[in-house]
């Protein structure tokens, strides 16, 4: 099992490498002269040349890449042209926690509500509950999240005035304020996943409940709630986690949009501003972070499989 895990880690490292190459190429392919942007409007040819040499931009591309990746891994992500602040500070320390808080809240909400709803839908199969859940599942996955966010802002923010409609308050500093500011964004982001979880849970649970070992458990006198939650759901976890793992990218994607709707200073907004301001260093950092995060999460999920399914463990 250790060998398998190591193999996966190696594969992950290689994919990360490819992503880094892609990010690096991004900077090289982008239009515009970064030197010009950094020096501003007036500069002398000497300043131009010396900056090029200082940044190592006259060296061959491969060397530049190696330099860059070495610096990147050490946490030197360059400096922003606009704010003159180190990008690492901006991206990793300030923006990432915001996005992570949003993502975790949304996922948590989706699981908390989605799983029971899916279970209900499965055990009340073909009733009005089931139909309702199915309708919710269908619209939830198709509905554009940023529109939902705006609708929520309109109804709960502007009309009722219950929740704040923009800004981020770190829950670790001010829990109540943080929660209040996170509610609408979390609902917005979680809807897609909630719908997906409802659909998946229902489908898998229905299939599992038809298995002989469920009848066998009932024949042993297990009460219904145990049959469902201990015997059946245990076997639903694996396919559920599999598909959710595949959807992690969509979570990040949704976060980008949700952050813009609610003006949360997260990675999404950072990347968008980076594109608008032609701050390719920031876009680069954002792409690397997103890709890296996604790959790492997938690795975690991969390593989680044998834990969930005893059949995948070594004999």
């Amino acid at each position: 099992m250790l060998f398998q895990a190591l193999q996966k880690v190696l594969q992950t490292a290689i994919v990360l490498l490819v992503v880094s190459v892609a990010s690096f190429s991004l900077l090289k392919l982008a239009p515009g002269d970064p030197i010009e942007l950094m020096l501003g409007t007036e500069y002398s040819p000497e300043a131009h040349r010396s900056l090029i040499m200082e940044l190592g931009l006259d060296r061959p591309a491969v060397e530049q890449y190696v330099l860059w990746i070495v610096k990147f891994v050490q946490g030197d992500w360059g400096t922003s042209y606009v704010s003159r602040a180190p990008i690492f500070q901006y991206a990793f320390v300030e923006a990432l926690p915001v996005t992570l808080t949003l993502a975790v809240s949304a996922l948590g909400l989706a699981i908390l509500i989605g799983v029971p709803l899916g279970v209900l839908s499965a055990i009340r199969k073909d009733t009005v509950w089931d139909a309702g859940a199915a309708a919710f599942a269908l619209t939830g996955t198709a509905f554009p999240s940023f529109y939902l966010g705006i609708l929520l802002i309109w109804i709960f923010g502007a009309y009722f005035g219950w929740f704040p409609t923009m800004g981020f308050v770190p829950p670790w500093e001010d829990f109540r304020g943080g929660v209040y500011h996170m509610i609408l964004p979390a609902i917005t982001l979680s809807t897609y996943f909630m719908a997906m979880i409802v659909r998946l849970t229902r489908a898998n649970l229905v299939e599992v409940l038809e298995q002989p070992y469920i009848a066998a458990a009932r024949a042993r006198g297990e009460p219904n709630w145990r049959v469902i939650w201990l015997h059946a759901m245990r076997n639903v976890l694996m396919p559920l986690v599999t598909v959710l793992g595949l959807q992690l990218g969509t979570l990040l994607q949704g976060a980008v949009l949700t952050e813009t709707v609610f003006s949360l200073p997260g990675v999404g907004q950072m990347i968008t501003n980076g594109v608008l301001n032609r701050e390719y260093g920031i876009v680069q950092a954002g792409v690397m972070m997103t890709g890296g995060l996604f790959i790492l999460m997938n690795l975690l999920v991969d390593l989680l499989y044998p834990v969930l399914d005893p059949r995948l463990r070594p004999r």
Partner: protein, 300 residues
């Protein structure tokens, strides 16, 4: 040159099967029928936009800035006085244009990469697969953003960016299909009989891969529209005054409290189309995907 050729799927009955299948879907589920009609309605609006829309999408009615829905402007106007109904109708054009265009690029690119990854084998295949993994590592939106950074903004740039971002997912399904077809006996038999490799690809592998690919493409159109709207919403997609729904929603965002129709109307159109496409896509996939796998590949 071999005289014998192994018969592959006969294409004419397949087309008839396709139509028969679609008709059965129509009759079977009222939801599917309704969604299909809605989608066709949007499509018609897209094609006949200039004839259907009451105003030009960029005409600014100085008498009615941010007017609520009323007699002269059924869906109201935006902050520039542009009629929302007309902009929504014209927006359908852009939605489908971008959706189809991006899916086309993604499907063709995915086909090429997937075929290569599935057929080459050896170390090259491994490398290619890692690249595909890397392509898949970034969610479509983020990758599209990155490409917009390189290419710039505009409708065509959006099509390219979203299209390239879709290559990864398509490549993955194509490769899986190629591997599955390869595992079937008749491909090996053809190889053993000395039939030219390219011919094998053309006559045997390709037909069995194209159909699932088309099914996938239908399903991904809604994703393409969603991503492109997202890009425009973020402000890095199409440029104003293009009547793109995402852009319109973004423009209306600041005025939500007193002019909710500015975001509400285009958003509703987007949501409606996406839901309809989703139902149609689901129905198509259910009907054709598993069937294709058993039909074209012999016994399963």
């Amino acid at each position: 040159m071999t005289a014998i050729d192994i018969p592959s799927r006969n294409r004419n009955p397949a087309v008839r099967q396709l139509i028969a299948g679609l008709l059965r879907l129509f009759r079977g589920s009222p939801f599917f029928a309704a969604s299909a009609i809605v989608t066709l309605g949007f499509l018609a609006a897209a094609i006949f936009a200039p004839f259907v829309a009451p105003y030009s999408p960029t005409f600014q009615d100085s008498a009615a800035f941010m007017a609520p829905p009323g007699a002269s402007h059924w869906f109201g106007t935006d902050s520039f006085g542009q009629d929302l109904l007309s902009r929504v109708i014209h927006g359908t054009r852009y939605a489908f244009l971008i959706g189809f265009g991006a899916v086309l690029i993604g499907a063709l690119g995915g086909l090429a990469v997937g075929l290569a990854a599935g057929l080459i084998g050896g170390a090259l295949e491994w490398v290619l697969m890692r690249i595909v993994d890397a392509l898949l590592a970034l969610p479509s939106l983020v990758m599209a953003i990155a490409f917009i950074a390189i290419l710039g903004q505009g409708v065509d740039k959006v099509v390219y960016a979203v299209g390239i971002a879709l290559i990864g997912p398509f490549a993955r399904t194509v490769r899986a299909d190629v591997l599955q077809v390869r595992a079937q006996g008749f491909v090996e038999a053809a190889g053993l009989m000395g039939i030219n490799r390219l011919r094998i690809v053309w006559r045997h592998i390709l037909p069995n891969v194209i159909f699932p690919l088309s099914v996938q493409a239908t399903v991904r159109i809604s994703e393409a529209i969603l991503v492109s709207s997202g890009l425009s919403f973020l402000g890095i997609g199409v440029v104003p005054p293009t009547p793109d729904w995402g852009l319109m929603i973004s423009e209306g965002r600041a005025f939500v409290s007193f002019a909710p129709w500015m975001s509400g109307v285009p958003g509703a159109a987007l949501a409606l189309l996406l839901i309809a496409l989703s139902i149609v896509g689901d129905g198509v996939r259910e009907r054709f995907d598993p069937k294709l796998r058993t039909n074209g590949s012999g016994s399963k």
